[in-house]
Structures are given as C-alpha cells and as structure tokens.
C-alpha cells in the first residue's frame, strides 16, 4: 500500500521525516491499510458517480459550450490539528482586518499612502482600483464580506499566505459537498475522529449578508450570477438553495430612481442586498465595461445612493493585486501595530529595477505571475518551462514590469492521495473561507486543493487539480 509513498524535501502532512505517521494521521493510516485496493477503487467510483448525478460540476472554458466536468475528489481527508488551526484562524482574522482597513483608507483619507508605507503609484496604477469608490461609505465599513485566502504549507511546516482572493472567491460549495461525501465514504472513521463541523456555512453567509442592511427587518437578498454558462454556476445555484434566496441574472434586475428591483411575475420587488458573483468590470455597463450584458445598468448609482448593499464591495481587487500583496505585512504592522501571524511568500516586485534584473537572471528557478490574473492563468513556472518560453516571457516582462511579480518555486506540502488504488503523495494547498459582517467568522478548515499530476504544483481546477475534504479536529 505504501511502497509508492516517497518522502522528499516538502512538508508531508501525514508522515514525519523518520517515516512514522504523525499522531493525528495514525488512525487514518491504519484504517486505509485494511481496505483492499479494489474496495478503494469502488468507493472512488461511487463518489464520482454521485457527484455527476447531483450535477456537482464546473464548466470548462475553451471547449464546446456547456462542457461539464466533475472536480476530481480524493477520498482521503486532509487532517489539521486544533492547535494548527487556531494559529491559522488568528492569522487570517488579523490579515483580513488589516486588508479591510487598507481598503477603507485608500478610498478615503489615504493615511497609508501619505505616510509612504505603500507607494501611491502602485495603488493608482492597479487596474482594480476604482475611482468610483472614492468617499463612498459601505455598510459597517466592511468591504470584503467573503474571502477565500490561498494558504500553502512550506517545508518548515508553517502556513503562509500565497494569495488573498478578495473579489469573488469560489469553491466553497466543493468544501461543503466534499464533507457530505467523506461522511458517506468513511462513516466509522468520521466517528472516531472528532471533526469540527462546517455545515453552518450557508447560515453564516446568510447572516453576514443580512448584517449589511441592519435597519431592514426582513431584507430581500439575492445572489447575482453571470448565468448558466459560468464555470461556477453550480456553486451559485447551490448557495442560493442553501440560503433560500433568489438566484438572479443581471437581466432580472432593474434600477428605477436609484432603487434596485427584481422582476417577478407578481411585479417588481425591491432588492436590499446583492451577493454578487460577477466581477466589478461587468456589474454595471453604464459605469464599467460598456459591452457587458451580464450586469445591471444603473446599479452603481443605486449603490452610491445607499439603496442597496453589495457583497463584496466594489474595488476590493486593488488589495489582492499581486504587487500590493508584497506590502500586506507592512499594512498589518501599520494598522494594528502587531507582527503578522501568517507570513507572506517571498515576492520580487518587477517595478523595482534591481529586483527586475535579479528575476530576469534567474527565470528558470522562479514562478512569474501577472498581477491582475487568477486561476493559474498568465503565469510562468520557471523549472517546468523551456528556454523559448522563458525568452518570450522575459520580453513580456520587460514591456510592462508593473504587470508582473516573481516568487521562488514553492515546495507545497504533500498529502496522501489514492492514485490507481494505492497511496501516493501529492502537493496540496488550503483555501479557508472568511466571512466578515458584524464580526469575522471562519468555518474550520476550507477547501484543500490537490495537484493530481505527480510532481505538479498547480492545484487550480481549470488546470487539472482536484480536491479533498479538510478535517479540523477538536482539541483534547
């Protein structure tokens, strides 16, 4: 069973350097060794079938319209101890609080820019900076109501933040359905482990949204989706159902006298809170991209008039710009006076000439990313690239250095996965979901994404990644 399971320099979630199982994985390892490969394959198959039948799928762009695939699910849970989790939880709360204060600051007094902690031109040149948000008061002064930060575990065993996804992070529905599935696949194991629940996410999200219109006793809340061709459409339908709210498209909403309504068969119904899963660029063709047919003309005016709350607020993307990311530790110190609990990954800013030269000289060892992209698009992974690819990328970098950052190739931690009936180690990350309304709530765990190709470091669903359930254990 374990003969394919090799240790290397990456942190291993299950085994210590001496090859023995970590205490919290011992029970799982023992159980698995008593199940035959055929039985494992059978359980895997029934899980896959069940996802397909339930329509737990995502749409792959660039193929025939409507190509639906399941997000591959690995049966073995990724286990995190209570102590590890508490550090992550405190670190995330600290970081999200600082990022939110940063957003409020740059759209109001700009203290942090005036004090020279963050370069002004880095903020203004960011394409996600929204002038339209200047001076606007958002409910509770909270901009980032839903966040899905990407954490990685570095070889020392510490968690570090790779990206803060502050715009419209997705994947939480997979976290929820993965839990249902692992309860079905390993019911006894689930009983033996004392796992903290996550099923309250839908309820927490609803109360977070509701808290954005505190003066309305029974607010009308809708989830705004780009529609059934969007890759995350399953998630939109799933969350709307979990919360019992309407799933609307842009064409279902109209703005009249700066008030937002949805068209029902029974007439217009006023909408108070919008959980939007559409990017800023597409949300209002009168203010942003004029060619957008997904958005709602006039929405920005209703928002400015304070007649509707939007989660997340517009303009949050500036704080997860990959170049500004390098300044998050400084933001935390600036606003809270504390040292960051969770570290950043070392990042080179290519707008700085010395760093640019260093990166161009060492492209084969580095990962270079476009600052405004996400989902694994627009990046160069140095060690896995050809000379020609590096040269082409170097030209792009020189043409627009502000648009790129570079990071060392990360050794993501590895966790056991079932590959062809036996155990192999695969690289994983962790995306916890942070809700911020009246207070900060983080359901224990999050979505563990897996790079299913041997040796691969790319976990994105669009690039052949999979996922597993994440168990955070109760303390002793």
């Amino acid at each position: 069973m374990f003969q394919h399971y090799q240790l290397d320099s990456a942190w291993d979630e299950m085994r210590r350097a001496d090859g023995h199982a970590r205490a919290h994985y011992a029970e799982l390892m023992q159980r698995i060794s008593h199940i035959s490969p055929q039985e494992l394959a059978q359980r895997q198959q029934s899980a896959d079938d069940s996802f397909l039948a339930q329509g737990v799928t995502f749409t792959v762009y660039g193929h025939d319209a409507g190509t639906e695939k399941i997000f591959p699910f690995d049966l073995l849970p990724r286990i995190i101890t209570d102590a590890e989790w508490r550090t992550v939880e405190r670190g995330l709360a600290q970081r999200i609080t600082a990022l939110n204060m940063f957003l409020h600051d740059i759209y109001h007094q700009e203290h942090i820019l005036n004090d020279g902690v963050v370069p002004r031109d880095l903020v203004y040149s960011c394409k996600h900076y929204r002038r339209e948000m200047r001076g606007l008061t958002v409910p509770r002064n909270v901009y980032i109501n839903v966040t899905g930060s990407d954490l990685v575990r570095v070889p020392s065993g510490e968690f570090a933040v790779l990206e803060d996804n502050l715009r419209v992070p997705s994947g939480v529905s997979y976290m929820l359905v993965n839990r249902q599935m692992s309860k079905r696949v390993f019911p006894q194991l689930f009983d033996r482990y004392n796992v903290q629940p996550i099923e309250q996410y839908g309820q927490l999200l609803l109360s977070t949204l509701r808290s954005l219109a505190p003066h309305i006793s029974d607010p009308t809340i809708v989830l705004l989706t780009p529609g059934s061709y969007n890759s995350a459409y399953f998630e939109h339908t799933y969350l709307a159902r979990q919360m019992g709210i309407q799933l609307v498209e842009g064409r279902d909403l109209v703005v009249h006298n700066n008030v937002v309504y949805m068209r029902t068969t029974n007439g217009l119904q006023q909408v108070d809170i919008i959980y939007r899963r559409i990017d800023d660029d597409f949300i209002d063709p009168l203010v942003f991209r004029t060619d957008s047919i997904l958005g709602v003309p006039g929405l920005m005016h209703a928002y400015r008039a304070g007649n509707v709350a939007i989660a997340n607020a517009l303009g949050t993307g500036v704080a997860d710009d990959k170049a500004l990311y390098a300044y998050v530790p400084q933001m935390i110190r600036y606003y809270s006076g504390e040292d960051p609990i969770l570290n950043n990954v070392e990042t080179f800013l290519l707008s700085e000439p010395p760093q640019l030269q260093h990166v161009l000289d060492n492209l084969q060892h580095l990962v270079v990313k476009a600052v405004g992209e996400s989902g694994g698009y627009g990046m160069l992974i140095g060690p896995h690239s050809t000379q020609a690819q590096r040269e082409a990328f170097a030209e792009q970098i020189k043409a627009d250095p502000r648009n790129y950052i570079a990071q060392p190739t990360l050794q993501l931690s590895r966790a056991p996965c079932i590959i062809d009936g036996h155990l192999e180690a695969r690289h994983v990350d962790l995306r916890p979901y942070i809700l911020y309304g009246e207070q900060i709530n983080i359901v224990p765990g999050g979505l563990t994404r897996v790079a299913l190709q041997r040796g691969s470091l790319v976990v994105n669903s669009s690039q052949g990644g999979g996922s597993k359930d994440t168990w955070v254990l109760y303390g002793e």
Partner: protein, 320 residues
C-alpha cells in the same frame, strides 16, 4: 417566494417549443404516410398545404420535391418550426431553469435532445422516418407525464400548462385554416375527400377519439365540431381554452394582481368564444372563426408578457 419573470418565461417557452416539435413531427409523419396511395397532383397539393401550415414561404414552393423540404423541417435549425430548432430551444429553456424543474424533467428533455442529435448523425433518421417522428411524439408525451408527476403544481407548473395549451390551440386553428378549402370543397362538388379528412384528424391526433363518438364516417361539419368545440378531447381548441383559462385564474389568485385582469379577460373571452360558439351547416363562418381564435391566442400571449414578464417599469410601479 415570488417567481422571477425570466423563469416563468423560460418555463412557458420550454413547453411551447416542445409542443411545437410534437406538432411538426405529427404533420410530417401523417403526410409522408399518405404519400403512398395517391397520384402526383393530389400529393403536390397536400405538400403545399403543409408548407403553408408550417409557415414555409419560399416563392418556389410549388416546384420543389417534398423530400428535401421534409429534411429541412426535420434537421435544419434555421427554420423556426423545424424539429431540430424546437427541440433545441425547448432544451435550452429548460437548461436555464434547471433549478425550477424536477431533475426527472431535465433528464427527459436532455435525453430527447441527445437522442435526436444521434438520429441526425449521418442521416440515421431517414432509415425509418416514421420511427423517428414517433420517438419525438413519445418523448414529448413522456415529458408531460413526468412534469405532472414530479413537479409541484405551483405557479411555474401553470405557466407550463398555458404554454403547452396555447401552442396546441394555435397549431390546431392554423392547421384547419389552411385546410378550409378541402373542408368546404365537398359542399360545392359533393365529392367525398375521405382520405384528406381522416388525414386531417390524424394530424390532430384525433382519429381514434373521433371514431369513438362519430364512427369512422367523417363529414367536415362533424370533424370541425370535434377538433374545435369538443369539451372532452384534450387536443380540441375548446379543451385548450378551458385549460388556459383555469391556469390563468390560478395565477391571478396567487398573485392577487389588479393588472392580472387583462390576462383573465383575454383567456375568458377565448374560453367563451369556444364554449358558446359552434358551426353552421354551411361552414360559412369557419375560416373567420378560426382566424379569431388565432388572434385570441396572440392576445393571450401578449397579455401574459405585458402582465407578468416584460412589463414596463412605470406600469408596474403605478399598479402593484
């Protein structure tokens, strides 16, 4: 929870398109079957009437041979009434509202679509057109049965009912309009066009039901009486009008909209037209009556849109 206008609209059109596919399949099936035992001239006239019924207004209609046009009406997505276009549109509408229909309904309409695509591959359907058309009709019937048995009979269900019955009423009226000449013909020349009349009944899927009431002895007045005014036969215009009116009343009761009166007035007028209408032995007014029925269907469709789907904002603000 109130129903989104877009959702109601998609349910309505999903249902209309599926009914239209079934209608086109039945028309082509019956006409192809009749082809076997008649001379060329009669056959040409039949095809002409069929093209008119299906709104195929090519100037050269008279001179082309039937087979390529049957092909067009089966597989060509550019013709709005073709089986390919209508099944695809029905499925696309269903896909947009998957959350609002039962999964059984989605699976059935998706299967119907995929089977149809498979039949079009390398013209497999041409091996046995009859079997193909039968599978389309059966697919539509199955969908209706599954809808009744698995979906809550709520507002969405009522929009599905209206969509199906308004399409059916309009199709039947339009079919008869294009056949009034052969119905009235017997009054002038006294000849029996028995094959045409039974064919017409079959196009309304009414032959068996007619025989149970009137025996296979078909006369035009009885035929019209049956497919237009019979209160019990589910494909008669009368039956459709009753069903539309009832569904509209249920929607009105749920919504309690003052504006809803407009829909109710139009469905009520249509229903009364059928309940209290009838034919004269000379069949003088049949064409006009059928024309009025078609107009009534358009009015109901427009009233529904104006009241529940695409109402102007100011209108909605002033009267809710």
């Amino acid at each position: 929870m109130a129903m989104l206008s877009r959702v109601a609209d998609s349910l309505y059109w999903m249902s209309r398109y599926l009914e239209r596919a079934e209608h086109t399949a039945r028309l082509l099936d019956v006409t192809l079957h009749q082809l076997i035992d008649v001379d060329a001239q009669v056959s040409q006239q039949r095809w002409l009437r069929l093209w008119q019924t299906l709104h195929y207004d090519d100037a050269n209609t008279g001179s082309i041979s039937p087979q390529p046009v049957v092909d067009l009406f089966t597989t060509d997505g550019r013709y709005a009434d073709s089986i390919a276009a209508t099944i695809t549109a029905a499925r696309e509408n269903a896909r947009q509202v998957r959350e609002h229909i039962s999964s059984e309904m989605w699976e059935q309409i998706n299967r119907l679509y995929l089977d149809m695509r498979a039949q079009f591959h390398q013209h497999a359907w041409q091996q046995s057109p009859h079997r193909f058309f039968a599978s389309i009709k059966m697919g539509s019937h199955l969908f209706q049965g599954i809808t009744d048995a698995t979906m809550s009979h709520n507002e969405g269900w009522d929009f599905i009912q209206i969509g199906r019955t308004i399409e059916r009423a309009h199709n039947t009226a339009s079919l008869l309009v294009h056949h009034t000449s052969i119905l009235q013909g017997y009054l002038n020349d006294g000849q029996s066009h028995h094959a045409e009349w039974t064919g017409l009944l079959k196009m309304c899927s009414a032959f068996e039901a007619y025989c149970k009431v009137h025996t296979p002895e078909v006369t035009p007045p009885r035929l019209i009486e049956f497919v237009v005014y019979n209160p019990d036969f589910p494909r008669s215009i009368r039956f459709c009008a009753d069903s539309i009116h009832l569904a509209a009343e249920r929607i009105l009761q749920r919504d309690g909209l003052v504006r809803g009166n407009k829909v109710q007035r139009s469905t009520g007028q249509f229903q009364a037209m059928l309940e209290y209408g009838g034919i004269d032995e000379g069949l003088q007014s049949v064409a006009t009556d059928l024309h009025h029925m078609q107009q009534a269907c358009f009015r109901i469709d427009a009233a529904l849109r104006e009241t529940h789907i695409a109402y102007p904002i100011t209108y909605a603000m002033s009267s809710t």
